[in-house]
């Protein structure tokens, strides 16, 4: 499990995260939700040691983040950042191959090649394997990057908005892959999701963040309620049910065109129905 204790973070003088205490369970698909600027990416980047810890402690399966060598951590967790641009001119299969680098450091074994093949397969990248990254579409590049993260084969997978650029079919397929990893191979996934219905449909555990704090956590049924979501996003939200899980609906208020942009304090001026 990932244990986070007393984690605070500043960028310049601005406080970004406030004393976060959080335990992320092993063997679960955890969704991190919250409005823009809530601090989701910052939290994920800190856990993934992409950003130096300023205050507090993070432990991954007993490994202390601050004192464990980065190459050891690369065997424990794989991370995909939000909107990471890869400028190298690599072929899809070569990029995915680098996902195995932490295991072989330059001398791939048959097991490594197999992991790469499986990852390519899992994201439907077979036909694109010899194409250069700068010669495929945005969603295809996103899948290639995801496949690299998968190929790394770690117990933990940390993903920041992996559904970016993906169409509906590939979004569903990705969530299904993540669920398979969790339920089939006992791996653990933490993913930031904006589309709450993907969290509703697939997540075992949901963590809601706002203003650099955790405001709610638990299974979908307790977090994805009208009350919590309306407060979280400062906009009225309706929750229905579908497939015995919450289904989140929001209205588009065409009659309110020209009204001021919603802010926290303005939100209650909008009627709920």
């Amino acid at each position: 499990m990932i244990r986070i204790n007393g984690l605070s973070h500043h960028i310049g003088p601005a406080p970004i995260l406030h004393d976060i205490n959080l335990t992320l369970p092993r063997g679960k698909l955890v969704a991190l939700i919250g409005p823009n600027g809530a601090g989701k990416s910052t939290l994920l980047r800190l856990i993934a040691r992409l950003e130096p810890l300023q205050r507090g402690r993070v432990e991954i399966d007993g490994l202390d983040l601050a004192s464990t060598p980065t190459e050891r951590l690369a065997l424990a967790m794989a991370v995909m950042g939000q909107q990471t641009q890869i400028a190298s001119r690599l072929r899809v299969a070569e990029l995915v191959g680098f996902g195995r680098w932490p295991h072989h450091q330059g001398r791939p074994r048959p097991a490594d090649r197999e992991a790469v093949e499986n990852a390519l397969e899992a994201f439907g990248l077979g036909p694109l394997r010899h194409r250069f990254l700068d010669e495929i579409s945005g969603g295809q590049a996103q899948r290639a990057h995801l496949a690299m993260t998968f190929a790394q084969g770690t117990d933990w997978l940390l993903l920041d908005e992996p559904l970016n650029n993906l169409d509906m079919a590939h979004s569903r397929a990705l969530m299904a892959r993540l669920a398979e990893l969790v339920r089939g191979s006992g791996r653990s996934v933490v993913t930031v999701v904006h589309e709450v219905n993907y969290a509703a449909a697939w997540a075992d555990h949901i963590v809601a963040m706002k203003g650099g704090r955790i405001v709610a956590e638990g299974p979908a049924d307790t977090v994805l309620t009208e009350q919590v979501l309306s407060d979280l996003y400062d906009t009225p939200i309706e929750v229905s049910r579908h497939d015995s899980r919450p289904l989140v609906l929001h209205h588009h208020w065409h009659d309110q065109l020209g009204a001021p942009y919603p802010k926290a304090s303005d939100a209650d001026r909008f009627p709920l129905h």
């Binding site: 992409l50 980065t70 001119r89 690599l90 070569e94 680098w101 700068d134 010669e135 790394q152």
Partner: protein, 316 residues
């Protein structure tokens, strides 16, 4: 692909044979008498090897510096590295004129490393999106350090001495016993190849590199050592050789991408071939006189570079 490799290899071999046969003294390779052998072993072979080593090492150093700064428009000759090496060499020459050659080389390499570090520190402060600022910063830095070298040399009446490093390089002075340090540059290029995956991962960006457990500090340091040693040895043995480290990595990346483990040998062969071809042109054009290869490359290299600029790869 295999056919292309074979053709390229054959071309390099032909260039090498031509280089062994062409020079101011006319020899008959078939004669194999004492005179021919002497010219061959003392002059032609050393020169050919020097050109091949220099071209290969510079092109590989180009790949390395391009992945360190993540910008395709720089080369080891536009990062202030060569001028810094000259500054270091000038400093030892003034302070310890009797120092053995290897001390001078180490001083030149250390100075080159400091210059490269300065360049990287400047690049880190530039806005990421302005890709063209990186080569401009490199040219300005090279210009400043070059002026410092010239000024100090002028003060000490050493202008002629430094001119051989700062002016366009040439191989006409290469004979046995005066080029062997270039093997060290070749070794540095080999070292870069052995760490090719690390440089390739570094080019993927800090986030991805950290995610894969690569500590970029170590790779950066290794890369700076390679670039500095190559530049220092080339500048001090044959002078500034422009464009090879810039255009060859670009052409190879267009064709086969940035999987450096596969591409570095091709880059090395390409650099060796380009430099040897230019050196041969310089030897043939006004035979028996020579045009410095640096001058030929100034023309050929800038034409290739312009072509690269105007024919960007898909999506740049």
């Amino acid at each position: 692909m295999k056919a292309r490799v074979a053709v390229a290899g054959l071309l390099l071999l032909l260039l090498t044979l031509a280089s062994l046969g062409v020079g101011a003294a006319s020899i008959d390779l078939r004669a194999a008498d004492g005179w021919t052998l002497l010219v061959l072993m003392e002059s032609r072979l050393p020169r050919t090897l020097a050109v091949l080593l220099t071209g290969a090492a510079l092109a590989v150093a180009g790949v390395v510096i391009q992945s360190l700064v993540r910008n395709r428009f720089v080369g080891p000759d536009t990062a202030g590295t060569g001028e810094s090496a000259a500054l270091g060499l000038l400093a030892v020459t003034l302070l310890a004129p009797a120092a053995p050659i290897w001390v001078k080389m180490i001083a030149a390499s250390l100075a080159a490393m400091a210059g490269t570090a300065l360049f990287m520190a400047i690049v880190r402060r530039l806005p990421v999106r302005e890709v063209m600022l990186v080569p401009i910063a490199g040219l300005i830095l090279s210009g400043i350090i070059g002026s410092v070298v010239t000024w100090i040399a002028w003060q000490h009446d050493l202008l002629q001495f430094v001119a051989t490093w700062l002016m366009s390089g040439e191989f006409s002075g290469v004979i046995a016993g005066r080029y062997e340090l270039l093997w060290v540059a070749g070794l540095a290029a080999l070292l870069a190849w052995s760490a090719a995956d690390r440089f390739a991962i570094l080019s993927l960006g800090d986030q991805v590199a950290t995610g894969l457990g690569l500590s970029s500090r170590g790779v950066m340091r290794l890369g700076m050592v390679v670039v500095s040693v190559v530049s220092a040895l080339v500048v001090t043995t044959v002078g500034m050789i422009p464009f090879v480290g810039l255009v060859v990595p670009n052409i190879v990346a267009r064709i086969m991408g940035d999987n450096l483990r596969a591409s570095i040998p091709v880059v090395a062969a390409g650099g060796a071939g380009l430099l040897l071809a230019c050196d041969l042109i310089g030897r043939i054009l006004r035979h028996p006189y020579e045009i410095p290869v640096g001058t030929i490359l100034g023309i050929v290299g800038s034409l290739i570079f312009l072509w690269l600029l105007y024919r960007p790869a898909a999506h740049g």
